[in-house]
Structure formats: C-alpha cells, structure tokens
Amino acid sequence: MSLRALALTLLAAGLALLLLGLCVGSTGLSLEALRGADDVPRAILWEIRLPRSIGAWLTGALLGVAGATAQGLFRNPLADPYLLGASAGAALGVALVLVGWGSGAVAASVLARLGMTGAAFAGSVGAMVLTLTLARGAEQTLRLLLAGVVVGVVLLAATSVLTLLNPDVLRSMQVFMLGNTALLSGASIAMLLPVLVLAGSAAYGASRALDALALGESTARSLGLPLAGVRFALVGVLALCTGAAVAQCGLVAFVGLVAPHLVRGRCGGAHGPLLALSALAGGALLLSADILARGLFAPQELPVGIVTSLLGGVYLLVLMQRGRFGRTAA
C-alpha cells in the first residue's frame, strides 16, 4: 500500500465511522434516527451524535499529531502527548475547580467561570510551561524529559491529596481520568478544529527539522538547524494539541502513543507524512472507540479511555506478531 493509498484508506475509514457514529446511540445500532421526521430523533442525530462523532475524531487527530511530535522530538518511540506533565497538570486544574466549587471559597467563583474545560486546558499548558522553566528551555532533551517526569509526579501527588481530602470529587475525577466523549458539542468542535489546523500546520512546517533531528542532535546542528527554536516551537505544538484534547475529553489513554506506530511503517522515517497519517489514524481510532463505548452496553456507556486502550493495545500486538512493528519502529 502506498502512502497515498493509506491516507485515502484512513480518510475513508474516518468518513465511514462518522456515518456509523450517526447510527449508534442510546438505543444501540439503529437507523430509526436517520429515517424519522420526528422532532426528537432528528435533534438527537444533528445536535448530539454528529458533533460528538466529529469531536471524537478531531480529539483523536490532535492526540495523533501530539504523539508523532513527541516521539520525533524526543527520538523515543515510547513518548506520548502526556510526557511533559500535561496530564497531571490538567488533572490538577480539574481537581481544583471541583474542590473549589464545593468549598465556596472566594476563588471558587473565578474557578467556576473558568469551568472544567478551561481548567484542564490551563492546567495542561501550565504544567508544560513549568516543565520548560525547570529544564531552562528546550535546549537539552534529557533535562526536558526529566523535568517533565518531575512535574508530572509532583502535580499528581498534589491532585491525590486534594481528592483524598474531598472524596465527593472522586467520581468526577475518575470520569476525567478515564476520558469522556459523551458531552462533546458544537462548541467543542469550535475549539478543536482551529487548534488542529493551527498546530497541525505548525508541526508539518517543522517536519523537516524532525527528520534532521532523527539523525542525531549533532548532525541536526551541523545541518544548520536552529535546534533550540525548533524544539521550543514543537513543545508549543505539543502543549496546544494536548491541552485542547484533554480539555474536551479528559485523559484519553494510548491514542497518542499508538497512532503514530500504526502508520510509521509506511512513512520511511519522513515526519511530514507521519504527522498527517498519525492524525488520520488517531481520529479513526478514537472515533471507533467512542462508537464502541456507546454501543456495547447501550444505553450505558463505557469510559472511552478503556476502549482506546483495548483497541489500540490489541492492534499493536497484532502488528508486532506480524513482525512489521519491530523492523519499522527502530
């Protein structure tokens, strides 16, 4: 399969899943909503299922871009979008809003206006800025990685203390930690789409630099690459993509890690196509997980993060069994 064919296949899969997403809801798989001229089924179709499906695809695409960027930036196939503390920062932001609301403190009104979405975005971007500050910029990769780990661990500890002292926020926190696509709306799309276009094209613009970086830092520098500036820009892309995704859907597991690996074999190490294909693969993965999450036990739902882990994990295993993965990821 050529690059173009794979891209077209993934795009077609995305569209097919979108159609399927319109047919799956609280009544399981049924075409009733598509046929009916009745008011409520139509509202469910256009106001709930359509924005939810598009939103899930966009979030997956953002995570795919973020994952491919992180793996290229750190030259590590195990890197994922949450590596620089984004997930811990977002979790802390959400916990602060939940706890602050309950306590009725003065700051609570400010927090409430910020909302869960704003808090998750601010927390995730804030944690990455903190990581950058601790690492004194993006100059040294190892320093950046370690700072990210430290920020992640410390912020997560703070979140744990908060939830321990306020057990009534436990359920809300669990929803956030396992990812939730249930309440995606038109407003979510209005946030996700511009970020995907903006950050995606920025990452695509820097893809040549990622290619050079893949040859090693000294080689990249000898090629005349402004390493610090490029890294800084890429961390910015990472923060923006992850922040937007986390703000809308919580901590969806595994999509950012696995999406680039699903398509890496076709890209031959070139980051331009890898970024684009990762976005398409991530979108298709999260949308199919969302459809399964709502369809399997309808009208009940599974947390979408559980489904992405199962789907992505199993598919990765199959790839490894076929022997493709080992050859191409190295």
Partner: protein, 292 residues
C-alpha cells in the same frame, strides 16, 4: 428517705446488671458472629452513616473516634479523625482501645483489627433496608430493648414528607444526576428508593444498576419532566448538546441541591428523611410556581 432512694438505685443497678448478663450476639454482614458481655462503652465508627446511627440511638457519647468524613451531629467533629476511604489509621484506632470498631466492607482492615484483638462489626449501608438492618444490629449491640424505635420514627417522617408532595407532582418522570459524565441514580439506588417514596417515576430503571454511566442521548430521549442535580452542574445543563429541548429544562423544573443537601440525600442513614425533605421542598416550590 435517702436510704429508700439508695435501695431503689441499687435495685435498678441490679436489674440493669441482670439485663446484660447474657452475652449479646450480633451477626455482621460478613456473617461473623461477635459476642458482647455488656454494651460497648468505647466505640469507633469508620463510616458516616454508622456514626450517625450510633448517635441516632442516643449513644453519641460512647464514640471515641470516627472517620474523616463523619460530620454529623456536630459533636463528632471534635473526635479524633481516624482516616478516610482508603487510609484508615490502624495504629490510632488500636491506641483508642475501643470495645468495638464499626466499619464498611470496602475498608478491608477487619482482619488486621481482629488480629490485634479488637471486636469488629462490618456493616454495609446502601439501601433503606440496610439502614433498618443496621439500626437493628447496633440497637441490639447497645442493649436497646426496642432497637427499631428510631427507625420507625424515621419511617413515619418519610411518610409525612411524602404526603406533603403536591398531587400534581405524583407520577412525574424524574432524572437524578449524580455526576456530569453523566452518571444517574437508578431506581435500585438509595436515592432511587427515596424518589419512589415521594411518588416520582425514575427514567432510569432498576435494570441499569444503581449508578449507571448513561449515554446523554438516553436522557434526551426519555425527556423527563423533572431534573434533580447538584448545583455545581446545574448551570451547564442547558448547554449540553440537545438538552435544551428536555421538558424539565424548558419548564425550569430543575431541583439544584447545594453540597450540604447533596451530602444528606446521598447518605443512607438516619438522616434519610432530611434528604427526602430537601427533595420534597423543591417539588412543593415547583408546584407553586406552575400554579401561578
């Protein structure tokens, strides 16, 4: 005169002594049988509803320690706090030398406490029937001649509160949201039992379990006439995709509970009538508003 009073006191003391002579045997929810030669004087309760039940039986003074979340009645706030849902402080519990430790099965420390020589009663409180059963067990343990007397008072309160719900509200369909995932309180949950008692019809049936994570579409389709929710999530309700067309939101038939009210409503214990009253108060307000 004084001598007669003394004799009377002595007789009463003797009577009390003989009443407790036979050991009381209590079977807890793990089917462990625990024997008490006399009612325990030092009690540790590690679940708010158990703390509240001991106090409702009139023996709040016997409590020597409670869990971090026990906050009613006010006098228990002064007691040593012995940890929360997953960090019980075994050392501090043992140091209090309690005659009995009351806890929920989820805590998983009963074996350690028993190995340290303490008497432990494991009691589950999830439904109204559980509340009654816990009253029976703890009342017997405390040597009450009529352990279910407080339960009957609570039950009568519930009936009285249910009677204050305006007839126009009877049979209305209701959606009770526990959290914004959305998680609902199903008919089989404690909250669902209270809703049924007030004459409301839960849109989330018992087949979905106590607290199902629902597809939000389900609620739009069920189109409830009433929505009950914590105040935190009440404002964003109409902003959810498709929800503005739900009957309850169109008619502003939304009961938003503040955290203190939510606390009482969700707690299966002696204050269940207070929780029911918070709901009934909202129903009366809505009926008044629609009558005008």
């Amino acid at each position: 005169m004084i001598r007669r009073a003394l004799v009377g006191l002595l007789a009463a003391a003797l009577l009390a002594a003989t009443a407790h002579a036979a050991p009381v045997r209590i079977t807890d929810d793990l089917q462990h049988v625990v024997a008490f030669d006399q009612p325990p004087r030092r009690i540790v309760a590690l679940l708010p509803s158990l703390t509240e039940t001991v106090c409702a039986l009139g023996d709040c003074d016997r409590l020597v320690g409670v869990d971090r979340y026990s906050n009613w009645p006010a006098q228990v706030e002064k007691l040593p706090k012995l940890g929360g849902l997953d960090d019980p402080q075994v050392e501090a519990i043992v140091a209090l030398r309690p005659d009995v430790v009351l806890l929920a099965p989820s805590l998983r420390i009963q074996d350690r406490l028993e190995a340290l020589g303490l008497k432990v009663l494991v009691l589950q409180t999830r439904t109204q029937a559980d509340v009654r059963r816990v009253f029976q067990a703890l009342g017997e343990m405390l040597g009450r001649p009529d352990p279910l007397a407080p339960w009957r008072a609570i039950d009568a309160d519930m009936a009285r509160i249910a009677a204050t719900v305006p007839p126009s509200m009877h049979g209305r369909s209701v959606y009770f949201e526990v959290d914004a995932a959305p998680y609902a309180a199903g008919a089989s949950s404690f909250i669902g039992e209270t809703l049924a008692r007030l004459g409301l019809r839960n849109v989330v049936g018992p087949e979905l379990g106590p607290f199902p994570k629902l597809n939000p579409e389900f609620v739009v389709r069920a189109d409830p006439e009433l929505v009950m929710i914590g105040r935190r999530n009440a404002d964003s309700l109409a902003g959810r995709p498709g929800w503005s067309r739900i009957r309850a939101l169109k008619a502003h038939a939304v009961c938003a509970f503040d955290p203190a009210e939510s606390d009482v409503i969700a707690r299966p214990g002696p204050r269940m009538a207070q929780g029911a009253e918070a709901m009934a108060r909202c129903l009366r307000r809505l009926a008044d508003a629609s009558a005008q």
